[in-house]
């Protein structure tokens, strides 16, 4: 019995998948790749796959995490290659490590999101973000199965800043170079596009990127003319400076010893 931890990306048109869609697709890919999966016992056996808080439907991600259990020793790099080859375009395995103790959920407390707002000028966005950060509390309404729910977005937001474009070496440019679904990742550059980068703590109830946008509407009446595109860029624990610590760093370090 061996545990492996994977970081994967959900890109392009696959951002429209739900977590259930991803889970099904992943389990089938594990079978196609010939991974010797461990199964639960009982009437209805399931492969042992543990998910950590998935990105919402409609949101892309560069940093999703999952843990799998296998019944034979598996080489992490070989697994990354084999699995990546059979996943559909837009689901890309970025890294696989052997689990070195601990649990994934305890290494994740916040996410960094990048939200592209086509048709919103960076100046307008800065104005809204400044107003939001100045507030102590920003309540928004969200429609849930059980009706309308009011949540306070402000306390969950660790930081928020605006970029007119993403610096070279990170963000969208890089995504487009590496995405297996590059054709569906292209950005329309004919309009001004404000880009919001925000770190949000994973609280209950969860504050999602669209809640942050709702908050900008509440404080500054900012309404994007077309739906925004959000991408989760990283997850992890927050260090003392409010930066995210890579949740696989400990496993990687253990490997090198």
């Amino acid at each position: 019995m061996q545990k492996l931890r994977l970081r994967y990306a959900k890109r392009g048109r696959l951002r429209f998948t739900s977590h259930r869609d991803i889970a099904r697709t992943f389990e089938r890919a594990l079978r196609r790749a010939g991974v010797p999966m461990a199964y639960s016992q009982g009437f209805s056996p399931h492969p042992k796959v543990s998910w950590v808080g998935a990105a919402p439907t409609g949101v892309a991600s560069e940093a999703e995490y999952v843990e799998v259990q296998v019944v034979e020793q598996v080489d992490p790099d070989a697994l990354r290659t084999a699995l990546d080859a059979v996943l559909p375009p837009g689901l890309d395995v970025i890294e696989v490590v052997r689990a070195a103790g601990g649990t994934l959920p305890e290494r994740i407390e916040a996410s960094a999101w990048q939200v592209e707002l086509p048709g919103v000028s960076p100046e307008r966005l800065i104005e809204a973000v400044t107003a939001f950060l100045a507030a102590e509390s920003v309540e928004v309404e969200r429609l849930t199965k059980d009706g309308k729910k009011v949540i306070d977005v402000r306390p969950a937001v660790v930081s928020a800043e605006v970029r007119s474009d993403v610096p070279t070496g990170s963000g969208s440019t890089q995504i487009q170079m590496h995405s297996s679904d590059a054709g569906h990742d292209a950005r329309d550059l004919s309009h001004p596009c404000g880009i919001l980068v925000t770190v949000v703590r994973q609280t209950t109830p969860t504050v999602r990127p669209d809640d942050v946008l709702s908050a900008l509407r509440v404080v500054a009446d900012l309404v994007p003319p077309v739906p925004a595109k959000a991408t989760r860029m990283a997850q992890g624990r927050l260090d003392d400076e409010g930066r995210l610590v890579d949740p696989l760093a400990l496993d990687r370090a253990a490997e090198e010893v």
Binding site: R28, R31, P36, P45
Partner: protein, 653 residues
């Protein structure tokens, strides 16, 4: 001229609709080809929601057969839900394919597979969104040729105003022949325009072009005759039959959607056709004769399909899967091969009399144990003789007792209500049968938690069956019998609380009946219903009986006929039926004799194990029964891998 993807225009709409993933494509094993390199381009449509349409085997087979041709391109399109339809109209986004998001209007052909008549209004939505004129007569060379297929195409008369052509029967070879004709016509510079290509298709005898036939009516509304209105067009159009299933092992690379679909499994068709002779069953009548896939062919398709899809369940499909001459060897061989890989097998259609507990055990050996499902169809022995579904209650009780003794806890039974000659008593027998199942289960298992679910559908008389002459039962009678049945089930609480009952009311069945046995005059009704908002008629939350009734009244009254005339009216022997010129191979005199046998409660045996009873199909179509046993076995006998049906030596260190 190249064609642009509509995805950039569609994408901003997707966050605003439910389940957007169904519109993005990207399925595993989907094919996107170079538009300009293709000589002939097909859009294939299943006119229902993506979750229903994607797993459809017919579309999947044709998609792969066509895309294997180097100069042919095939993409898929499905019905969009009303929320997206509204946004597409608002933002001028046309009906698109999910593969490369190309506009449907740009294709040479639009093939539409109708498994059920309730998809007709969805065809009109798709045509309209695509910018293709609704009426075939208004189309020009710039529009795709709209071809209908699937079981409902055996009577395409109700949709004849909207389709250019219809193909009866198996599509594998037919699509390639149509492709050849279209390719040649395009290469010649489209001589004679749309009329000429349709005439070339029609003169093969295997493609029906409704426009080339005139229907003449008698003063009382019945059809006098249907005749070709030009030269080169045959009087009768024959159905297509693919004889050697091993030569057509499709789908080889089944599509696996990102979205959840109604069939989360890999399906292998183990035989086609059925001669059990159930008189209500259109599928069994129009797909004759039985043609088995060999045990080796099945084994190879299962392994290749599992490698290509990663599914955890393999469905061995056919109209009555336990009837395959080597079903025991197939299930045992597959269960041995996939031992320890968590791969389960299922037989979606099994007859009680062909089923045994060894089979059930093989099916559940390597995975989840699914429930047992049987379809006695009729509650009383008498009505089962009428419909020629000769399974006895003793057989049923014996089989379920063995299953309950072996650990099963649940059985599902399918029935129909509204069958010809049916009385209240025939339907009330369903309750008795369900109670006997519970009693037997409690006795052999010694447990109280035995469950039996009875599921009842309304009977709809279908073309090309012995019941094509029958009066359809009116919804009021069907609903009243179902109410009485529910009371009978609940009359004994000690047993009734373990019986679940599922049914639909009789109204949708009546409309399905109108569309099934209708003629060209029904096209106006379909169009009116669609213009008044009719969509997704197979979904109870979208179906409106009142809309259909009022449209039928408005359109049919001026013609001197009505809804009842098409549905609850019994036909006479010599009446010209709207589909008489469409040849399923079944001899009309034999069908009539079988209808008389039904009324006399006389059974008809299966020609696989008794002498031929002259239904007419084999001599008319030049076909013959193709069944085993072959005596061959499934290789390899050894299990394939650990925790996966695929063995990948590069992974383990």
């Amino acid at each position: 001229m190249s064609v642009e993807s509509v995805f950039p225009a569609l994408e901003p709409l997707l966050p605003r609709v439910s389940k957007p993933v169904q519109y993005v494509g990207g399925e595993l094993n989907a094919t996107v080809k170079d538009w300009d390199a293709a000589a002939v381009r097909w859009a294939l449509m299943y006119p229902d929601a993506y979750e229903v349409g994607l797993p459809n085997q017919g579309v999947m087979i044709l998609y792969e057969v066509l895309n294997e041709q180097p100069d042919v391109l095939a993409e898929r399109t499905y019905a969009v839900w009303p929320d997206l339809e509204r946004l597409m109209r608002e933002h001028d986004v046309p009906q698109f394919t999910v593969d490369a998001h190309r506009p449907v209007k740009a294709f040479d052909l639009l093939g539409v597979s109708f498994a059920t008549e309730l998809g007709y209004t969805n065809l009109l939505t798709a045509l309209d969104l695509a910018g293709i004129p609704l009426h075939a007569a208004d189309r020009t060379e710039d529009h795709p040729i709209v071809v209908a297929g699937g079981h409902a195409a055996f009577n395409p008369e109700p949709i004849s105003p909207f389709v250019d052509a219809a193909v009866l029967g198996d599509g594998e070879e037919a699509v390639l022949e149509i492709t050849d004709l279209v390719r040649a016509w395009k290469a010649e510079g489209r001589p004679g325009g749309r009329d000429e290509i349709l005439t070339r298709l029609a003169e093969t005898g295997g493609v029906y072009v409704p426009r080339f036939y005139d229907v003449e009516y008698l003063p009382d509304g019945r059809i006098q005759r249907v005749v070709p209105n030009r030269e080169r067009v045959p009087y009768r159009v024959f159905k297509r039959t693919t004889m050697d299933l091993d030569a057509w092992p499709y789908p080889k690379q089944p599509l696996v959607p990102l979205a959840e679909s109604v069939h989360e499994r890999m399906s292998v068709e183990i035989f086609r056709g059925c001669t059990r002779g159930c008189r209500f069953c259109q599928a069994g009548m129009i797909t004759r004769p039985v043609r088995e896939r060999s045990i080796e062919g099945i084994g190879a398709m299962v392994q290749r399909g599992l490698e290509a899809t990663g599914f955890e369940e393999v469905g061995l499909l056919s109209l009555s899967s336990a009837d395959h001459s080597e079903i025991a060897e197939i299930t045992k061989g597959l269960a041995d091969r996939y031992e320890g890989t968590n791969t389960s097998l299922s037989l979606p259609s099994t007859r009680v009399d062909a089923f045994n507990i060894d089979l059930a055990n093989e099916l559940s050996r390597n995975g989840r144990r699914s429930g047992l499902t049987f379809a006695p169809e009729g509650g009383s022995e008498r009505i089962r003789r009428v419909i020629n579904k000769m399974v006895s209650e003793e057989d049923l009780i014996r089989t379920v007792s063995a299953a309950f003794a072996a650990g099963w806890r649940q059985v599902k039974l399918y029935f129909m209500c509204g069958l010809p000659t049916e009385t209240d008593d025939d339907v009330l027998q369903i309750a008795e049968m369900a109670k006997n199942v519970i009693r037997a289960g409690r006795e052999v298992s010694g447990r109280k938690d035995i469950r039996c679910t009875i599921s009842i559908g309304g009977f709809v008389p279908k073309p090309h069956t012995p019941f094509q002459w029958a009066a359809q039962c009116d919804p009021v009678t069907v609903d009243s019998r179902l109410r009485k049945l529910r009371e009978a089930v609940n009359s004994d609480r000690a047993l009734g609380r373990n019986i679940g009952m599922r049914y639909h009311d009789g109204q949708p069945s009546l409309i399905e009946g109108l569309l099934s046995r209708g003629d060209r005059r029904i096209g106006r009704v379909i169009e009116r219903v669609w213009r008044e908002g009719g969509r997704f008629d197979g979904w109870s939350e979208h179906f409106s009986y009142e809309r259909w009734v009022s449209a039928a009244e408005a359109e049919l009254t001026p013609l001197g006929v009505d809804l009842a005339w098409f549905t609850t009216r019994e036909r006479e022997e010599l009446e010209v039926l709207p589909w008489d010129h469409l040849d399923s191979g079944l001899d009309k005199e034999w069908l009539w004799a079988d209808w008389q046998d039904a009324l006399d409660e006389r059974e008809q045996d299966d020609c696989r194990w008794t002498p031929c009873f002259d239904c007419g199909v084999c001599p008319a179509m030049g076909t013959d029964i193709e069944v085993g046993p072959t005596g061959r076995t499934l290789l390899p006998i050894s299990p394939v891998g650990k925790g996966s049906p695929v063995h990948n030596p590069s992974l383990t260190t």
